[in-house]
């Protein structure tokens, strides 16, 4: 086996007997801190969504109410229009007054 191959073999074997690296002793505390921070962020995000939905529903209800009020006012006028058009159109049917 040539020198190069020996070098490569030694390098490939350099991880033999490797020990597991030790993590931070306070890993649990750090993770819990992140969970609590993330929990607050999630709560804020959820509250924001709820408020947005409530606002949207309120807007839709308002539009519906306004439309109802508007159309109920104008429906009286449109009925009068319909009557006058009908009277004019069918006026030929009125009995002739002598």
């Amino acid at each position: 086996m040539n020198k190069m191959e020996q070098q490569i073999d030694k390098t490939l074997e350099s991880l033999d007997g490797i020990h597991r690296a030790k993590s931070n002793y306070f890993m649990y505390e750090k993770v819990m801190q992140r969970i609590n921070n993330d929990g607050l962020k999630t709560l804020t995000r959820q509250s924001r969504i709820i408020w947005q939905m409530a606002a949207l529903i309120l807007i839709l209800i308002s539009i519906n109410l306004l439309s109802l009020v508007y159309f109920s006012k104008t429906s009286g006028q449109s009925q009068d229009n319909v009557k006058s058009i009908a009277n004019e159109y069918f006026s030929y049917m009125d009995p002739i007054k002598f």
Binding site: M4, Q7, I8, K10, T11, L12, S14, L15, G17, I18, H19, R20, A21, K22, S23, N24, M27, Y28, K30, V31, R34, I35, D38
Partner: protein
């Protein structure tokens, strides 16, 4: 530890159960992330991310695999996401450097990586090997790291990677072949 009862306690959000989980797995998670990311700070942050994901995913864990397999799987997936993100950053930085704007994106360093668990006489060679491992295709890198750094057996690696045992054998064989080629190139270059 009765695994079924442990899972039940975790799903019930028993705080002591999650603490036990973190204590039991923190070195494994950190060491695996360290082997894949080859940076102490990144591995530390990644380990926290992984446990955060574990905490959020516990309600959805069906117990089809062992807890250890599930946690290793999350570790590997998140670490590989991070590696892909870093590669994209490097590509963007390379592109920007064509326009003289390379400073806009901070690029991760390329200093040699010294794993703390390596014996002193092997540290230099191991650093060369870790650099070569970075150049392997993703699946070969994954399998080789799980086997050599985390000392996992083929069967466990197959479960984590969701591949067959023969696939793991093939991945490790090809990884060693590719590493030989990469190292040969390195030693030829450094003899000049």
């Amino acid at each position: 530890m009765n695994e079924e009862y442990f899972i039940y306690r975790l799903k019930a959000r028993d705080p002591s159960a999650f603490q036990e989980l973190v204590e039991q797995f923190r070195d494994r998670v950190y060491n695996t992330a360290l082997g894949l990311l080859q940076d102490n700070k990144d591995a530390e942050d990644m380990a926290q991310e992984i446990f955060l994901e574990v905490y959020q995913s516990i309600p959805y864990f069906r117990g089809a695999s062992k807890i250890s397999t599930w946690i290793y799987r999350i570790t590997v997936q998140k670490s590989l996401e991070f590696i892909r993100k870093q590669k994209r950053k490097k590509r963007s930085a390379t592109l920007l450097s064509l326009f003289g704007k390379e400073n806009l994106i901070p690029v991760p360093g390329t200093s040699p990586f010294f794993h703390p668990g390596i014996q002193l006489e092997n540290k230099e060679r191991a650093a060369i090997l870790f650099d070569a491992i970075k150049k392997l295709p993703v699946k070969q890198r994954m399998a080789f790291t799980l086997n050599k750094v985390e000392d996992l057996g083929y069967a466990e690696i197959a479960e984590i990677m969701k591949v067959s045992l023969s696939s793991v054998e093939s991945l490790l064989f090809r990884a060693r072949q590719n590493l030989r080629k990469i190292l040969a190139g390195y030693y030829v270059e450094n003899e000049r």
